[in-house]
């Protein structure tokens, strides 16, 4: 059996003790929780500074400037970021805070350039294309609704496009005058009929049922936004709100799942399930958990007694 170092054993016990210390906050705010909190902040800051120095400042700045002074003249260009970094520190001086505006402006400009290209190629183009799925292909692959493919099919595609339109229209707050409101329904009907006719004649689908289904789907997708110019706009926006609520609900559900997962991770650590049997045999995590729990409960009891 490979023996663990003493520091590793102590580290394992400390991690279990600190886990329970932090969890003690669920009972009540208390001094031992505060100790753990400050310890965490201190360790995280220390780790961050050391990492930043050894992985960022030293190899990318100090070493290169050093090379520059020792003969490699092209490396002296790194004096510019050093000067800019120093200029950033002027932010703390009320009198010379304006000096920091130069590096901040450069940072913002560079970051905007990097972000804009990424957002355009990754999100704008990619996601707009995916926002209107190929319904003929969907029909060929899945039909109206395919349970085995998580409900993929023409109905899902139609719901996606109509839901997206409804969500966007929900955020259209301008008042529409009564005259314009008369246009929506006739325009929607004409669009629906035209799109339906195009789909029936031109859709690359062999079956008539498929053509009708795709035509209906496409017609609905094309006609729905015209409801904005009608007295029925509120129906569309209500549907948009429902879609948004479902999406917020899904996000909330995922968040809850994430938090439970974190608790499970700690639970597995406390019970020694996440460690190899060799380590468990040496650390005895269950005993560590029990001892830590007893210490923390005793401390909580003493603190409570003192408070009262």
């Amino acid at each position: 059996m490979e023996e663990m170092a003493f520091a590793q054993l102590v580290g394992a016990w400390v991690s279990i003790f600190l886990t329970l210390t932090v969890l003690s906050f669920l009972f009540d705010d208390n001094p031992i929780y505060k100790v753990a909190e400050h310890l965490f902040m201190g360790v995280a800051t220390g780790y961050g500074i050391v990492e930043a120095y050894w992985n960022l400042l030293k190899p990318n700045l100090f070493d290169k400037i050093g090379q520059g002074f020792s003969g490699e003249s092209d490396q002296l260009i790194y004096l510019i970021p050093l000067v800019l970094s120093v200029m950033l520190l002027f932010k703390i001086s009320p009198k010379y805070a304006w000096v920091a505006r130069v590096p901040i402006a450069i940072l913002v400009a560079a970051y905007a350039a990097v972000k804009i290209t990424g957002e355009t190629s990754g999100k704008l183009i990619g996601q707009i294309g995916a926002s209107f799925p190929n319904m003929s292909e969907s029909w060929d692959k899945h039909g109206l609704w395919n349970w085995e493919a998580d409900g993929a099919g023409v109905i899902s595609d139609t719901l996606l496009v109509v839901g997206l339109s409804a969500c966007l229209i929900h955020f259209y707050f301008s008042e529409i005058d009564a005259r314009s409101q008369r246009l929506g329904v006739p325009m929607g009907i004409v669009t629906f009929v035209l799109v339906m006719a195009c789909a029936l004649t031109m859709a690359p689908i062999e079956s008539t049922g498929g053509k009708i289904a795709v035509g209906l789907g496409l017609g609905l997708c094309a006609a729905a936004p015209f409801l904005t110019l009608s007295p029925y706009k509120h129906l569309l926006t209500r549907f948009g709100v429902m879609v948004l609520m479902i999406s917020f609900g899904a996000s909330f559900g995922f968040t809850v799942m994430g938090r439970i997962s974190l608790a499970i991770g700690r639970g597995q650590e406390l019970l020694g399930q996440s460690r190899a049997p060799v380590e468990v045999a040496q650390i005895h995590p269950q005993i560590a958990t029990l001892v830590s729990a007893v210490i923390i409960i005793t401390c909580l009891f003493i603190f409570r007694k003192k408070e009262h």
Binding site: N55, V114, T117, G122, F254, A263
Partner: protein
């Protein structure tokens, strides 16, 4: 009854914490082994690995911290087993400084069990600060961004890096991400630009943000949170895990189920109590 409902609404929140603690610890100690199915998103991740020819290199960006290990740590471990078992070559980088102590010992330990050699069968290029800029450079020139590996060996001296100068030289890119910088930035900065074959692994909280990337085909597969890791474990270890391998995410599925049931019950009871007491108070 009304009195009880009013009491329930004013219940001390610590009872909820206690209930959740019980819901977590009981199935951990006494596993129920409830069945679960594998989602298409995770099956696609598995398929992407399976269809790679032997000897291919896979670029893995392991961007996570200790807080996200319960969710995506099991995926990372299983993924390395999957790659080594299929004689594929992982090339690891990280954009999170906190990932180094999680990634390096893990890959070394797993590689040892498969008799894989550092520099030939796997490599860890280390951590680089710079967030999106590092990702952009990975797309353009890995050798420039990472002149040496984590141990300081120049990249041209590593056999595994021969002919693999940029992201598009890798037939598969795996972004294991717990947040920023991570999966989102990989998709935005290089996936679209170089049309990369890419799969994503994320925490449950980030899942809803990345589903559109999977649906649009920008990601070829997606594993979300602990259930994603459990499903991947199920696919990789079909019959039973190799000796010494613990299926932590699979073991946690019972707990996830019970934890969610507990929360759902609380939400339903809370709503019932709220509506009944409100109606009576109004009357």
């Amino acid at each position: 009854m009304l009195e009880w409902l009013i009491k329930f609404q004013r219940m001390d929140r610590r009872w909820v914490f206690l209930g959740m603690a019980i819901a977590i610890f009981i199935p951990l100690v006494f596993p129920l082994q409830l069945p679960f199915r594998v989602d298409k998103e995770v099956r696609d991740v598995y398929r992407q690995v399976e269809k790679l020819p032997e000897g291919s290199a896979v670029l893995i960006s392991a961007d996570f911290d200790p807080a996200s290990v319960p969710e995506i740590g099991p995926f990372f471990t299983t993924h390395l087993h999957h790659l080594f078992r299929r004689n594929l070559k992982p090339v690891l980088v990280t954009l999170w400084p906190t990932a180094i102590p999680l990634v390096l010992p893990e890959i070394k330990a797993i590689a040892k069990t498969y008799n894989k050699k550092y520099g030939e069968d796997f490599v860890f290029l280390g951590y680089k600060e710079g967030k999106e800029l590092v990702i952009k450079n990975i797309g353009q020139n890995i050798f420039q961004q990472f002149p040496t590996d984590y141990d300081g060996t120049p990249l041209p001296d590593l056999p595994i890096m021969q002919g693999r100068r940029q992201a598009k030289d890798f037939p598969l890119i795996v972004s294991i991400s717990a947040g920023f910088p991570g999966l989102n930035e990989y998709v935005l900065q290089i996936q679209g630009q170089y049309n990369l074959n890419m799969v994503g692994v994320c925490t449950a909280v980030g899942g809803p943000d990345y589903i559109p990337f999977y649906k649009s085909g920008q990601l070829k597969g997606l594993s979300m949170g602990m259930p994603g890791s459990a499903q991947y474990e199920k696919l990789v270890w079909k019959d039973k895990p190799a000796p010494g391998v613990k299926l932590l995410a699979t073991a946690a599925m019972d707990v996830l189920n019970l934890g969610h049931v507990f929360i759902i019950v609380l939400i339903i009871m809370g709503n019932i109590a709220f509506f009944i007491t409100r109606r009576i108070e109004e009357a």
